[in-house]
Symmetry: none
Subunit: 149 residues, 2 copies
């Protein structure tokens, strides 16, 4: 499970340490790490290859000319399979550095099956936004054991 948040340094070679807990989770389940452009936010999203596989399979099930297929294919094209060096770091591809406007700090935010990588400023912005929504609307109504057919 990808959980908790940590602020790590990006060095001149675009290397960052993946939080050890994330890395151990991937290693334990013998999974490759995939990084890609978030479709919703200005951040990188990280997840396991097998989870990404689900989206790849979906492409074949859609009408090849459909809008969803278009967007999913582009998502694959903007994805990178990465692996750790001996000390648990990955290199963030230049495309993704630019997309998420990263320079020398990355905020890792675990959200369960995947995690986000933000620039510190973008992270702050999102964090404040969620706090504000919470104040205005109160806590979300969560249905924990919803039936998933």
């Amino acid at each position: 499970m990808f959980l908790s948040t940590s602020h790590n340094k990006i060095d001149l070679k675009c290397r960052v340490s993946i939080p050890a807990t994330y890395r151990l989770f991937l290693e334990k389940s013998d999974e490759q790490l995939i990084l890609f452009k978030s479709l919703q936010f200005k951040c990188i999203e990280g997840t396991s290859l097998s989870r990404m596989q689900r989206y790849i399979n979906a492409i074949d099930e859609l009408d090849a000319m459909s809008d969803d297929a278009f967007v999913l294919r582009m998502m694959m094209a903007d994805s990178f399979e990465t692996k750790f060096d001996a000390s648990g770091r990955i290199v963030i591809p230049e495309t993704l550095m630019n997309f998420a406007e990263l320079s020398n700090k990355a905020v890792f935010m675990g959200i369960g099956e995947s995690f986000y990588v933000w620039s510190p400023s973008e992270y702050e912005k999102q964090y404040k936004k969620s706090k504000q929504i919470l104040e205005e609307k109160g806590p979300p109504k969560l249905i924990l054991n919803k039936k998933t057919e």
Copy 2:
């Protein structure tokens, strides 16, 4: 898995470097590379021989006299089995160079089980279109209800 995008040069002998990640994927799974004319776009499509086999099987399940079967057989006829030279390059057959209107640059776009090879201008067009769809319609439904069973 064919993922990510890269812009490679086509030299005077019509040679291009296949992105190393694609090549390694094929070598690791001991697969031949097949190139053929895309049925949907003005680009070359590349995939593994075993996936091509699935297309062939699909034809057998169609009415042999149908238009679909006819078109698919034509596609087979324009397919090429290619192999790398010692430094990981392939030669793009002239038919395919013309079909995709390639000259001296090729954009490799990995979409999972296969990849596209575009001319830079055609790639741009495709890229912009998907971005526009994303803006107008938002991410595909299956991204939004990420089931975490």
